[in-house]
């Protein structure tokens, strides 16, 4: 019934969909297997993509030729560029999305991708021959063969849902959990553990009083996520979010449910994310705070369903309901469904290689929550990389690994593989040592060419990058050559309280001033607009960032060079650490378990001292 595939992707969430897309676009024959084909690419939690660090990741996925950026652009109902007041490395795109449109757009894009087959069934086990995986076995008993398998199980592996004292199996509310894979892999020698996450209640928009809340509108300009140029939504039509707050009365009501809380009563064993606490956790840990912010987020264009961001809870549903009704604007609120907590299996990611292939089983790849991460963007980028590497593996091609200085994706995977994680891992910009280089405005300049050479990013993308590069250079040259006379610019400088010029100065120098932007010069100084008017806004912004922040960008580039020397020293797979008697015991254990790929990675493993790395280097030979 089934042909032999190059790659089978198990699960069709953000990781699974990107994995199927990248492997298929590279030319692999792909099967996407999932329990329910009606729920692919679900936004199981909040209906939003991007945000700080996460927005940068979507831009990187897009630059590599993944789909998340396009899908987000096509299904957004609101766009904001966060952190505009900070330096450009912090600018972070974020969108509210139409949940159903998001899912439908993903399915449509995958259906239009050659080489992707679909099949609805639950995978119960994988087929293992020796130390290689060579297919999957489904609940219906189908054996499907492939040279690689990518597991993207999300919260479905042995998922248990908690609402107050009730608990039941499930991978998402109203969806069955999956069993079998964890047990089989543990039997084979894998280590697995439990994590926990949660989601807030959904309510009926018609039951809320928005006049009592603060409105949060979208930006006037929609930058979007994809570097491909297509029509964005009309900014005037964006949907607003609203802000309200809990109060002491709400907190008192919530406390009445603490004796039934699965978290406080110890029924939940999995570790939850510290930065994504439930409302009961917030009032418990920060009892001095009299209110907590809630975001009222619409779930789409054509629905009244509302996501109550900030009110994640696993207290009994009637406690959630009563408490929420004491929030200003929620007095008459009607529930669509209560919040809940969910526990699920993950496999500590130190068991993976940088390709996301498991060390124990050749051809078996993991991506997303199974690796201990949280977030759509974190999952999607792992899916992308697992898809690429599963393809490379099945075609006997070189692995593709992004460095920490290439992309947030590189930081994320290297962190997972080198340090592991004990709570759901989320990306923060502070995790990247080269934050100034890894910006949302230059992901295409960083990654598209690499992906194009692989055969993933399209010609159209590559052409756009080349044009952007050359135009940016032209603008930089123009800025260096354009001398602005005092009489032309001084009235403007006066108006913004900036020191006036006494003699003419190059435009490139003037835009180094902190309160002068190139955009404002374009609008106010005729000679600037005359020489730059033919360029796109995107290129002008790019040139400005490169000129204005050159000192910092160069500083980080030097650090990259410094670090890269260690990154280029590869440790052979066969290296025998036991021979190195001088290593500290802790380092020895960690090296043997994690098997660092390079000396650079070895130096980042927690508990490893510089001296351990030096000793290693000497023994390693080159």
């Amino acid at each position: 019934m089934f042909p032999e595939y190059d790659v089978i992707v198990v699960g069709a969430g953000h990781a699974g969909c990107e994995a199927a897309a990248s492997a298929a676009n590279l030319g692999s024959k792909v099967l996407l297997v999932t329990t329910n084909l009606q729920t692919i690419a679900q936004m199981s939690c909040n209906p939003a993509m991007g945000g700080i660090a996460k927005g940068q990741i979507i831009r990187e996925i897009d630059a590599m030729g993944g789909y998340s950026g396009i899908v987000t652009d096509k299904s957004m109902i609101q766009f904001r560029m966060l952190n505009r007041s900070k330096g450009p490395a912090m600018w972070s795109p974020r969108a509210q999305n139409d949940r159903m449109l998001f899912s439908a757009t993903w399915r449509e894009m995958l259906e239009n991708t050659p080489n992707v087959d679909f099949y609805q069934d639950t995978v119960h086990s994988i087929i293992i021959t020796g130390d290689r995986v060579c297919g999957v076995i489904t609940g219906l008993g189908n054996k499907i063969r492939s040279s690689s398998v990518i597991i993207t199980s999300g919260t479905f592996l042995n998922g248990i849902i908690h609402i107050g004292e009730k608990q039941f199996g499930g991978g998402r509310v109203a969806e069955k959990a999956a069993h079998g894979i964890t047990e089989q892999l543990v039997e084979f020698g894998f280590e697995s553990s439990r994590l926990k996450t949660g989601t807030p209640p959904r309510v009926d928009s018609r039951s809320l009083d928005y006049s009592k809340m603060e409105e949060q509108k979208g930006d006037e300009e929609i930058v979007g996520f994809s570097y491909l140029d297509f029509k964005k939504i009309n900014p005037a039509k964006q949907k607003s979010c609203f802000i309200s707050y809990t109060n002491t009365q709400v907190h008192d009501i919530l406390r009445t449910g603490f004796d039934k809380s699965p978290m406080f009563q110890g029924r939940i064993e999995g570790v939850g994310p510290r930065y994504c606490p439930s409302i009961e956790d917030k009032i418990n840990r920060f009892s001095e705070r009299e209110r907590h912010q809630l975001f009222v987020e619409p779930e789409g264009w054509n629905t009244v369903e509302i996501y109550v961001n900030g009110f994640s809870s696993s207290l009994p549903e009637y406690v959630q309901f009563q408490a929420l009704r004491s929030v200003v604007g929620f007095e008459n609120c009607k529930f669509f469904r209560p919040g809940y907590a969910i526990e699920y299996d993950y496999f500590p990611p130190t068991q993976l290689k940088h390709t996301l292939e498991t060390k124990l089983l050749g051809g078996l790849f993991f991506a997303g929550q199974i690796n201990g991460t949280t977030g759509y963007e974190e999952a999607a980028c792992q899916g992308l990389m697992a898809g690429i590497n599963a393809h490379q593996k099945s075609k006997n091609l070189e692995p593709v690994i992004l460095k920490r200085s290439d992309a947030y994706i590189g930081v994320l995977i290297d962190d997972l593989i080198s340090k592991g994680t004990e709570e759901p891992y989320r990306m923060f910009t502070s995790r990247a040592e080269f934050r100034t280089l890894l910006r949302q405005d230059n992901a295409d300049l960083r990654l598209t060419e690499l992906s194009y050479r692989l055969g993933l990013a399209s010609q159209e993308r590559m052409d756009a990058v080349l044009a952007k590069k050359s135009n940016t250079e032209k603008i930089k040259v123009a800025l260096l050559n354009l001398n602005i006379e005092p009489e032309e610019i001084n009235p403007y400088l006066n108006s913004i309280d900036s020191t006036i010029l006494l003699e003419k100065q190059r435009a490139a120098k003037i835009i180094l001033r902190p309160n002068v932007s190139l955009q404002s010069l374009l609008e106010n100084i005729p000679s600037v607009s005359a020489s730059l008017s033919s360029y796109s806004k995107q290129c002008i912004e790019q040139a400005e960032i490169q000129v204005k922040y050159e000192r910092y960008i160069e500083k980080e580039k030097e650090l990259v060079v410094r670090m890269s020397q260690l990154e280029e020293l590869i440790i052979p797979d066969s290296f025998d650490y036991n021979k190195v008697s001088a290593l500290s015991n802790e380092a020895l254990q960690k090296f043997k378990r994690i098997k660092p790929r390079t000396l650079g990675q070895a130096s980042r493993i927690s508990g490893v001292n510089p001296s351990d790395v030096q000793i290693l280097m000497i023994f390693m030979g080159r």
Binding site: L82, M90, E433, M563, Q614
Partner: protein, 460 residues
């Protein structure tokens, strides 16, 4: 995180012989700038023009100050241990002199080498093959272990507390900046710039204080400061000469400029003693202690770690000595009473001073009981708990790291003054964390996140 291992395109320096006082010590410098830097300090010859594998004798100077008379071995890249330009300075075996030389070299932009770094470079430049490298690996391991122990020893007491405090403050500062960046959308109160100014100036002050504590307080770096005081004609000059003449072996006969800065260093049982105000004693200058009464020379005495109160046994009685001793005790001064000229009167008896404890009797002129004086000096000054060997080197590392931290903090301060965006400020703060991390252990992103999550209610 930033370059946990250092780059190897810069120039490094370290003491290559074991710590402590031997006849000579070898300081090794490796890197592109090795020859250039030492050439600046070596006026006798232009080293840049000399052939590889040659020896050169001369004075090593830091500006006008002569540091030591040394032998320089010159190895030009690639024919050297590390494959880079290498200079080995053979100097006198005093930790103080070695320390001064290393400090001077560091001040010219050379970095203190980490344990095993010369070997690491040799390996990277392909100068060592695997078998050779294996042989030195054990050595490196033991060095590392030793430096670990040394660091631990150094970390006892107040120094450790200050560093710990500094680390906490820096983590707090960086976490508050990161809070603004990663959690700008959260409903938390962000610190204003004034708060940052306060924090950074506290950090700056604490760093400077630590730096100064090296300059002033460290017995090993500066030696034990000794003042010889006493009435005119008690025999101070004679004692001084006797003590110094004993030590010609380690003190170069250097004429002129530096006589007063280096020469008055005594090495007794591996402990360095610096005799202060010796110029005053020798030249009977106007402001020498000699011309003050003991009351008026209190200031000088307070500078000293140990005071030798020298008196003429034939001139002073027990009552008067008791008065002097009481003054020393009142002023909380560590002292040694030394009765001189015991040879003048053959019937001299120690009996009349039998009520004193910290007392010895000598004849400076006849060199009698000078060894006993020295032994007493060591006992009084060191109280038997000084590990000279390890503290020197770790201090140099710490000193260097703190100096770099100090400079990096200035960058942060400048950024704050110019009101640059917080993410760029964070770039400079990461440098600070890196330098402090080299003393206190690495400060990771997790340390910052721990701080943020423990202090602020984050998350929707």
């Amino acid at each position: 995180m930033l370059g946990k291992l250092s780059n190897w395109d810069d120039t490094i320096v370290a003491l290559s012989t074991p710590q402590g006082i031997g006849a000579i010590g070898v300081i090794r410098i490796s890197g592109d700038k090795a020859i250039e830097v030492i050439n600046e300090m070596f006026p006798s010859k232009n080293l840049q023009e000399q052939a590889s594998h040659t020896l050169h004798v001369g004075f090593l100077k830091n500006g006008n100050e002569v540091l030591d008379e040394v032998v320089i071995s010159l190895f030009k890249s690639p024919k050297s241990y590390t494959g880079e330009n290498v200079i080995e300075i053979s100097c006198h075996g005093s930790p103080f002199i070695q320390e001064k030389i290393i400090q001077a070299i560091i001040s010219k932009g050379v970095r203190m080498a980490k344990a095993g770094e010369f070997t690491q470079r040799a390996f990277l430049k392909g100068k060592l093959d695997l078998t050779q490298a294996e042989a030195v690996a054990d050595l490196i391991a033991s060095n590392t272990e030793a430096s670990k122990n040394a660091a631990l020893k150094n970390m006892r007491g107040g120094f450790s507390n200050s560093l710990h405090q500094l680390r906490e403050q820096l983590i707090q500062f960086s976490a508050m900046i990161e809070l603004e960046l990663d959690f700008s959308q959260e409903d938390v109160v962000f610190a204003d710039r004034k708060k940052f100014q306060e924090l950074i100036s506290t950090l700056h002050q604490n760093t400077k204080r630590l730096l100064q504590s090296f300059a002033l307080g460290n017995v090993i770096k500066n030696g034990v400061q000794v003042a010889i005081i006493g009435k005119p004609n008690a025999g101070k000059s004679t004692l001084l000469n006797t003590l110094l003449n004993e030590n010609r072996a380690i003190v170069s006969e250097i004429a002129g400029t530096t006589r007063d800065t280096i020469e008055e260093i005594l090495n007794i049982d591996g402990v360095l003693f610096r005799l202060i105000d010796t110029a005053g004693i020798r030249h009977h200058t106007k402001d020498s202690i000699e011309n003050f009464g003991i009351e008026r020379s209190l200031e000088k005495m307070h500078q000293a770690d140990v005071v030798i109160y020298l008196f003429d046994v034939n001139e002073i009685d027990a009552n008067e000595l008791k008065k002097r001793e009481d003054e020393l005790i009142q002023n909380n001064i560590t002292y040694l009473l030394a009765g001189n000229k015991m040879d003048l009167d053959e019937s001299f008896s120690k009996e009349k001073f039998s009520s004193f404890h910290n007392i010895i009797f000598i004849s400076a002129k006849n060199n009698s009981f000078i060894d006993q004086l020295k032994k007493s000096l060591v006992n009084v000054a060191v109280k038997g708990d000084l590990n000279t060997e390890s503290i020197v080197i770790t201090n140099t590392r710490h000193f260097e790291a703190l100096q770099k931290l100090n400079i990096a903090l200035q960058d942060v301060q400048k950024g704050l003054d110019e009101n640059i965006p917080a993410d760029l400020l964070a770039l400079d703060i990461r440098q600070c964390l890196y330098y402090l991390g080299s003393i206190t252990g690495e400060v990771t992103n997790e340390d910052q996140l721990d701080y943020i999550f423990s202090k602020f209610c984050i998350g929707k």
